[in-house]
Amino acid sequence: MSEKVLMSGNHVIGEAAARAGCRFYAGYPITPQNELTEYMAGVMDRLEDGIFIQAESEIAAINMVIGASMAGCRAMTSSSGPGISLKQEGISFLSAQELPAVIVNCMRGGPGLGNIAPSQGDYFQATRGGGHGDYRNIVLAPSSGQELADLTMKAFDYADEYRTPVIILQDGMMGQMMEPVLFPEPVDLKKLPPKPWILDGADGRPSRVIKSLLLDPSVEEELNWKLARKYEDISNEIQDAETYMTSDALLVVIAYGTAARIAKGAVNRVRKMGHRVGLFRPITLYPFPRRSLVDLGKSVNNMLVFEMSTGQMVEDVKLSMEGSSNIHFYGRPGGIISTPYEIAEKIKEIYVKIS
């Protein structure tokens, strides 16, 4: 595929995963991400060394991914909110055992069973760890078909490089929407860096253990600090965000994923009215792109955070700005998709007061 193809977001992730060298997928049906599971069934069937398992549960799926990762395979699972909740035990283990894996959350309205409409209510769950213990996940937030492909490829590299689970946080809108995508060439599995830690039988070498039970608190403490140092490195190395029309902005809208697409439409609308408004779009949610946001805050005193939730990322914005900017918030939870017009109205409401 050296030319653009029109594909739905869930299929894009599947194709990109295969191209990234993912050869193991285990998943359980849940809407609105079933197309990804189905795509993986097909793609793994076609690949000579591809393994697909429709697991008996979300918990089994993530634990199969753990096993595949221990055996050295690039592995992925995917789900939506309620299923991701069930996978949290496994994600905590992946972090503690320092195992690479990619987990896709196609967010839907919640809490509880919620609905199957696009939402961003799982931001805390993804960025704060989600399961038990002191850990974080790398969280990537694509906002276009092309970015779904690019970030999925990147997710596997990050997972291997840092030996940590990576979450792709998309939503029902991203997953279902069809857009033209240009796929990168498939990676050569033989050229991927070796993994000298995997469990493949202690043939001619000392036996290895992958575990997370550390009964001695001083040893457990050291694991926690080791992970913390790793997250510090991750934070220094991979923070990523897009800025749009921010150079002369008096007000900047901050949004990620689907919400950023809507916000961009709103920014374009108010720009036509001559309002100096820009967009800041975090691409990595963990690490939160604090550096570039703080830079932006040197020239912009007003920020409007727009989320498809009651306000979760807004806390990271406030933590980053440490009181140095006026942070406004507008949210629509539960699966409501705002229009650019609606966001533009909110922007204008604030803009007239500050300009």
């Binding site: 193991f24 697991a55 918990i59 634990n63 753990i66 595949a68 395979c73 469990l199 036996s207 253990v209």
Partner: protein, 249 residues
């Protein structure tokens, strides 16, 4: 010259077992290590210990060991085995791990015919957490959570997972043994060896359930614990080949 006829198995690390006096795990560990040595599969074996008394099994077996979350052994084993189909993958699980919190993972791995071996140590209680009721606790048996004895109307009857697993299509060899006597220990070793051979021949899911004494939580002497297995436990969990679709191997 004197001939050495008894020594530490080659693939048991030189570590002191943490198990209580009279516990069956030490015996079962020894047997598994002997089998790995006799089949010459140390270099391609991956073991998966449970959350439970045997969680520290990775400190004892000198093979690659993959710790799984409580009950998830079969799913982790499936992941490893599918990626590395020519390796020997076994889970080592207690009754709570395999037949309470891990029931679903175990039944579905067996049903898919995943070519793995489960070693199911049944001592009828949750040992590591202090002797609570397990799915395998006998009716009337006193535990810390059944102080008046297990009652059928409140707690259900003992769950017989091995018989259930015998009903699914993908399981090919299931046997229940015990380690309460030299004779039964020899039979257990034979069964574990057979289960590993079933996997080596790529025939499907194999499981050995091993009735094992827990003198500490049963509040018995080791000798009485072995007798209790013989006289009481085997009447609910009889020692037998539950399923054998592989003949002699």
């Amino acid at each position: 010259m004197a001939k050495k006829i008894f020594s530490r198995p080659k693939y048991l690390k030189k570590a002191v077992f943490h198990y209580c006096p009279g516990c069956g795990h030490s015996i079962i560990h020894r047997i598994v290590a002997e089998v790995i040595e006799e089949l010459d599969i140390r270099g391609k074996t991956i073991g998966i210990p449970p959350a439970g008394c045997a969680v520290l099994a990775y400190d004892y077996f000198d093979v690659d060991m993959a710790e799984a979350a409580h009950g998830r052994g079969a799913a982790v084993a499936t992941g490893i085995k599918r990626v590395l189909p020519d390796r020997i993958v076994f889970t080592y699980q207690g009754d709570g791990d395999i037949s309470a919190i891990g029931t679903a993972e175990t039944i579905h791995a067996a049903n898919r015919g995943d070519n793995i071996t489960a070693l199911f140590v049944n001592n009828s209680v949750y040992g590591m957490t202090g002797g609570q009721m397990a799915p395998t606790t006998l009716l009337g048996q006193m535990t810390t959570t059944t102080p008046g004895g297990r009652k059928i109307r409140r707690d259900g009857a003992p769950l017989n997972l091995s018989d259930m697993l015998g009903l699914v299509e993908g399981s090919v060899y299931i046997e229940r043994t015990a380690v309460n006597s030299p004779r039964n220990i020899r039979r257990t070793k034979k069964a574990i060896k057979k289960a590993f051979k079933v996997q080596m021949a790529n025939l499907g899911f194999s499981l050995v359930e091993i009735l094992s004494p827990c003198p500490t939580n049963w509040k018995m002497s080791p000798v009485d614990a072995c007798a209790w297995i013989e006289e009481t436990m085997t009447s609910v969990f009889p020692l037998k080949v539950i399923k054998n679709e592989v003949g002699k191997i």
